[in-house]
């Protein structure tokens, strides 16, 4: 290797090791976020708190209330004779739904031909939960009542679900690849843009530029240690994923490594580009957030499936590296597929990295 690049790498490594607080955060952040996701993320909705208004208590309504409480979806936190103004119940007890039985509920239930009526008030503030409850209450109550009356549930079609790739629906299988995508982008883009703006602020960048080192060599020398650092972070995520959350990589580890390196490279090039645009460290950091992390989190398909977002945003999504890396990494970790199925996104990712690097080197040269 070129001795000038080697000297630059040594200098950069020394910088990284000297600021141990930042290094600690860089290494602890991914692990910390994994534990947050691991314990806080549960996609299954259970024990939604509800209350019941039962104006004329009877054996039937008591049994129905017990059935609601014992279901996995609901938890009955209170039964009242009269709800008064239902709004007050929602404001005071923060329940998500209020079941209101009619006063002739038990009588109607026993008399054929007159269905007993239940009104279900649902707190729609959280539109997600509101939609789930709206769709669930009717079939749920029908089933409960039928089983109380010992009437067989009329069925004609039953659907069996076969869940592929993540049969137990473990949330770890979902957030480990996603976190890889986010953290590698954040660390790589932020650290490179910071190290370059720092040299700019201190004036040492000018000193380096008047030395015999060429701009491209400065860039390579600055980037290399961060590729290694981001690589360590990536390995850390996979190790914690494997040992703590039981995420097994079903595809090729080698392919995963190569793909991650390509992605890190693209992210670093993006960081370089940002650093050519601003002069101050805080500005670099504050730009990295909206320019890299937010699109990565919101548009890569990690949280919101790509097909559900508006078309303009889908275009943007296809212009960011994270989208392609997420396809590749989910393919390798979850589906266990190889290069045959993944060469397209990998090629796009490589081209993006080269393009970003070329642009930033050009910008860098023009500035001097």
């Amino acid at each position: 290797m070129n001795p000038r690049i080697r000297a630059l790498i040594r200098k950069e490594v020394w910088h990284i090791l000297r600021d141990w607080q930042t290094l600690l955060i860089v290494l602890a952040m991914p692990v910390f976020m994994m534990f947050l996701y691991g314990y806080a993320l549960d996609v299954n909705i259970t024990d939604v708190e509800v209350m019941v208004e039962d104006p004329s208590p009877s054996a039937e309504t008591a049994e129905l209330i017990r059935a609601i409480d014992e279901s996995s979806l609901f938890k009955v936190t209170g039964v009242v004779r009269s709800a008064g103004n239902p709004g007050d119940i929602f404001k005071k007890y923060h329940v998500k739904a209020l079941f209101r039985f009619s006063s002739s509920f038990a009588a109607d239930l026993r008399r054929p031909g007159t269905p007993a009526s239940v009104q279900v008030l649902i707190d729609g503030s959280d539109q997600n939960l509101g939609a789930i409850l709206r769709n669930a209450v009717e079939p749920f109550l029908q089933k409960c009542v039928l089983s109380i009356l010992h009437v067989p549930v009329p069925v004609s079609v039953t659907m069996h679900q076969i869940i592929l790739y993540n049969p137990q629906q473990k949330s770890a299988m979902y957030f480990v690849p996603g976190l890889m995508v986010i953290i590698l982008m954040m660390i790589s883009a932020m650290l490179t843009s910071l190290t370059i703006t720092r040299e700019k602020e201190m004036g040492t960048m000018e000193q380096m530029l008047v030395s015999p080192i060429r701009p491209a060599e400065i860039m390579i020398g600055k980037i290399t240690p961060y590729i290694a650092l981001a690589g360590i972070d990536g390995a850390l995520i996979l190790l914690v994923g494997y040992f703590v959350f039981g995420v097994v990589i079903s595809g090729s580890l080698l392919l995963l490594t190569v793909a991650s390196l390509i992605y890190i490279f693209a992210a670093l090039a993006l960081g370089l580009l940002i650093s050519t645009l601003v002069a101050k460290q805080e500005h670099a950091m504050l730009i990295v957030l909206p320019a890299t992390v937010m699109p990565t989190v919101l548009l890569s398909g990690f949280i919101f499936p790509l097909t559900s977002i508006p078309i303009v945003l889908q275009w943007i999504a296809h212009a960011i590296p994270a989208t392609y890396f997420l396809i590749v990494i989910r393919g390798i970790i979850l589906k266990g597929v190889g290069l045959a199925q993944l060469w397209q996104p990998m090629l796009v990712l490589t081209c993006m990295g080269l393009f970003l690097l070329a642009v930033s080197i050009r910008k860098f040269k023009v500035k001097q």
């Binding site: 930042t22 259970t46 009542v145 869940i163 629906q169 460290q281």
Partner: protein, 375 residues
């Protein structure tokens, strides 16, 4: 009092000199607000589906057509075999595969009913759950239709067979718009970022430049320095709160059913925590970069455990207990309840009290550490 006024004046002129920083803090929040306001639908649309119809009867065709005509799904062609289904899922051409067995029509009239199976690409647990829930609902609806026709042939009405009538009514957000739920809390995110980051920056920069020591040798006491420094950010924070409120109600048309002044009061109480965190972090950190890193770290943690996008009720008990010390949790809750339910002081005082206690502790601790560090 004169000293505090001077510091406030100095701080404001410094903010004016570096408008880029404030813009860069506001920018991501604005982007996010528009994204959350417009882009997020909890509907999972355009899910690709492939079908393997082994039965090939009018009944199976009717079921398949009912699913394919739903605008939530996009038909990705018929599959030839189960292996073909699997391959299409592997390649990502389809995310769901419906398999109708050969004996579908025959078993449909049997007491046990017919079975269909659905292969689901489970990579993204949440969206595949939702999509399969849709299919389930369509299949159930279709089979109720079949039941209705059968009953009608015997001269019965389905209402007379089903013993209950359920009438769901959705309150507060009847159209189930995500903007109504996601946009108001952006006020909390923005106020937190502005107050914590800007105070943190302003203190640590004086430290870096060495001007903090100069301030300390003047007759101004450390407490006065801190008070003088935070007043401008409280003003900016309140201003931002109003700005988000205005854009939420005027642009995104989210109804605000609470009392504006009560919200501002809660905002002020909340800011004692966020400002305190900013001061605390900047006293510990050595440079602006560390302040940003630490605050980011804390903010991610607080946002995660605030109920902003992950419901607190779903978290394990001990995690829920941890969230009780999170000031964001209370303010987020207050903002949402005030916006949509129109709750007021009578219902929300416990949250306000919790914020007051947390804010008092954090702010007190930050003042103490600041005093100890500088003297």
């Amino acid at each position: 009092m004169r000293f505090i006024r001077l510091i406030i004046w100095k701080e404001f002129s410094q903010i004016r000199r570096d408008p880029l920083t404030i813009r860069l803090i506001i920018l991501p929040v604005v982007i996010q607000m528009f994204f959350l306001g417009y882009a997020i639908t909890t509907e999972v649309k355009n899910t690709t589906i492939t079908v393997l119809d082994r039965s090939n009867t009018p009944e199976s065709a009717s079921l398949v057509q009912t699913i394919l005509h739903n605008r939530l799904f996009r038909f990705a062609g018929y599959a030839e075999s189960e292996a073909d289904c699997r391959e299409r899922l592997d390649k990502g051409e389809a995310r769901l595969a419906l398999v109708v067995p050969a004996d579908f029509s025959k078993t449909l009239s049997a007491p046990a009913g017919a079975d269909v199976s659905l292969m689901i690409d489970g990579q993204d647990a949440n969206s595949s759950n939702i999509a399969s829930g849709y299919i389930n609902a369509i299949v159930t609806g279709w089979s109720v239709d079949v039941l209705r026709q059968k009953l009608a042939a015997r001269g019965l009405r389905i209402q007379n067979v089903l013993p209950v009538e359920v009438r769901p009514v959705i309150l507060y957000n009847p159209m189930l718009k995500s903007a109504w739920y996601m946009v108001p809390p952006m006020a909390v995110v923005l106020v937190t970022m502005i107050t914590a980051l800007l105070t943190g920056f302003s203190i640590v920069k004086e430290k870096e430049a060495g001007t903090l020591e100069q301030l300390m040798v003047t007759p101004i006491s450390p407490a006065h320095v801190v008070l003088g420094k935070i007043v401008p950010y409280v003003v900016i924070g309140l201003f931002e709160l109003c700005a988000v409120l205005a854009s939420a109600t005027l642009w995104f048309r989210v109804p605000f059913r609470g009392n504006f002044f009560v919200l501002l009061l809660f905002g002020l109480i909340y800011m004692s925590s966020s400002l305190g965190i900013g001061i605390l972090v900047s006293t510990i950190a050595r440079n602006a970069q560390q302040v940003l890193f630490m605050l980011w770290f804390l903010l991610i943690f607080f946002l995660f455990l605030s109920g902003f996008f992950l419901a607190l009720e779903n978290m394990p008990d001990w995690v829920q207990k941890v969230t009780y010390v999170n000031p964001l949790r209370y303010f987020m809750f207050i903002v949402r309840e005030m916006f949509l339910k129109g709750s007021g002081f009578a219902e929300l005082w416990p949250q306000g009290l919790a914020m007051l206690v947390i804010g008092g502790v954090v702010f007190g601790a930050s003042l103490l550490t600041f005093q100890r560090k500088v003297s």
